[in-house]
Symmetry: C2
Subunit: 348 residues, 2 copies
DNA sequence: TTGTACGCGTTATCAG
DNA sequence: CTGATAACGCGTACAA
């Protein structure tokens, strides 16, 4: 690694002079300035960020903690965080908790084990002296990963912190559920089945709430029999379809695209066709949705927007624009958007 | 951040004592030992890795440079690297170059701009004093990202360094092309079209070479007219299918699953069905392949194996097992595996 | 057991 | 204008 000292030696000047030049302090002769800049270019010198952070307060470095980068939503959020940070002249670095790979959906059950993975990661970022941290969970839930006395700014994506010190940037699941249901209603569907996750899942709860509100707004009774709880997977889509089709629904609202994949499986097996025989919609707008036949109408998650907003909130607090607080609770919910493809039929 | 000094103060001992206890140096009374350990547990103290690396040679930290984590292959490789590193007691940290988001497929055309993104990333990892670096490109090509005088061990995945100092762990594309072609031949196909990437693309070249060798082994003439060069995208699959079907192929070998998606598009539009009317195979075994109808026979990339091997090579060199060199050139090629699904028909 | 110099690369301060 | 030197933070190593 080329250091300041080396540059100084090569140019026969002191480190101070080189440092001054680099930091634009003007009391340097143009001659030495040019010479030093020349050598810096030649050697490809870059400052050591850590050492810089040692003296200056700020490292201009933001740490990202990902619960698991294998989950489809995570890379997109991270990409977006990084893009925004770069535009604002912050560098980023990431640690991956590998929670999913480790415990496969069970991660939030054992607090202690969770902490044994989280704490070293936080420590690592603190060691590097990041200016702030953004946390990217695999799915929405209530998070307590930052102690109240956490010393640096932190922003939560996806999860709910319920503490104004650590803003949450989340999906507006309720509105997502509402909008999709409303779309189906607009297309003439009145008997709409739902297949989703477990009862205690936040995404499930909120989307279901939105579904109910949309029905309510059209004065349609909510029928709990048309709701299948499951595991977000293809299999529960298959099983859900089996149940719901017997109950004569005209549309199935799958709370993930993967679930919709299972519904399609059932349809194929039983020689039914979407959207002719039954309409199907998904949620997430994963890549697979574009390859379904018929291509799947679904709700796109605002992943890019979440990343951007989270980075924006963090950097704003780092750069000291304290006046601006999004709202009292520090919670920002971003809307999904219905992506209309070919899996829904308009009823008469 | 809780520091050693704080622990020492709380326990009314010196930092040295605490350090000694932490490092298992036995000249400490059991009494103070217990007390200190107690406080360490209470405070959740974790050593500052950077400060540790300051004095010790090793930080036990491995840096990963990803060209773009949005590409499907990258998270899987990284996940696997991290898994192996963790098992070997190394921590990992990642920087993301965002090359694809930045320049969209053009990234390797402008050396200078590439370096302006790469160098700060390397510098960042060097600042943190990582023990070694693993580079994860978006696709195979010849890489020159580590100068010959690079001071720390580095391993390349996917790309070819052609320098024994920096081992390459790559996909065995030639064998992949061979195996898939051989599978189609075994299924009775003789006239097999290919749709792939551009002429200068390494994946394309090698898979095509494997295709030719497989034909050769069965004494079938290679017909360059059955090869469509393209852009790896869905569109070129569609266009390729249009061309190849006119040429009466019985099977289309798509060099990516996405291309196969385009082929399916063409089939649907023209009321043809795979595998009845024509057999189709893909490459990559992306998630979408499982959702195609019929589900797509394809070649699974050894992404996990690549990550593991790369980490293994790096850690081996860090831990000083110098005797072991995989082979002279430092290049390890790992095989793909044909995943048989339902898109290929057995002829007669 | 403890005190303390040392390692790192940079910046801030002040003297020349 | 330029240079010498302290300070930054934290853990380690070694002498006391």
């Amino acid at each position: 690694m080329v250091t300041l000292k080396e540059i100084a030696k090569r140019c026969d000047v002191s480190v101070s002079t080189v440092s001054n030049i680099l930091n634009g302090i003007p009391k340097v002769s143009e001659e030495t300035r040019q010479k030093v800049l020349q050598v810096i270019r030649e050697t490809g010198y870059q400052p050591n960020y850590i050492a810089q952070g040692l003296r200056k307060k700020k490292t201009k470095l933001i740490g990202i903690i990902a619960e698991d980068i294998s989950l489809f939503s995570t890379p997109i959020i991270i990409e977006s965080i990084m893009s925004y940070c770069e535009a604002k002249n912050y560098r980023t670095i990431m640690v991956n908790l590998r929670l999913y790979a480790r415990w496969n959906e069970q991660w939030y059950h054992d607090e202690e084990e969770y902490n044994s993975v989280l704490n070293p990661a936080i420590q690592e970022l603190l060691s590097i002296k990041v200016d702030g941290i953004i946390y990217v969970p695999g799915h929405a839930r209530n998070m307590r990963c930052f102690a109240r006395d956490f010393k640096i700014p932190a922003v939560m994506t996806y999860g709910y912190t319920h503490t104004p010190e650590f803003p949450s940037v989340v999906i507006d699941d309720e509105k997502g559920g509402y909008d999709m249901t409303e779309y189906l209603l607009k297309m003439g569907h009145r008997r709409i089945g739902i297949i989703g996750g477990r009862k205690d899942n936040i995404h499930m709860d909120k989307r279901l709430l939105g579904y109910q509100r949309a029905l309510f707004d059209r004065q349609i009774f909510y029928n709990p029999d048309l709701v299948c709880y499951g595991n977000w997977d293809r299999e529960c889509g298959y099983e859900g379809a089996k149940i719901l089709i017997k109950k004569n629904v005209t549309a199935i609202f799958c709370l993930s695209d993967v679930i919709a994949g299972g519904v399609y499986d059932y349809l194929e097996e039983n020689e039914l066709e979407a959207p002719e025989d039954i309409s199907v919609v998904g949620f997430d707008d994963q890549v697979i949705a574009q390859y379904f036949r018929p291509s799947l109408t679904t709700a796109a998650l605002p992943l890019k927007e979440i990343g951007k907003k989270a980075a924006e909130l963090l950097i704003r607090s780092l750069d000291g624009d304290e006046e601006q607080t999004e709202n009292q609770s520090g919670e920002v919910a971003l809307p999904c958007s219905v992506i209309i493809r070919k899996s829904v039929k308009k009823l008469l």
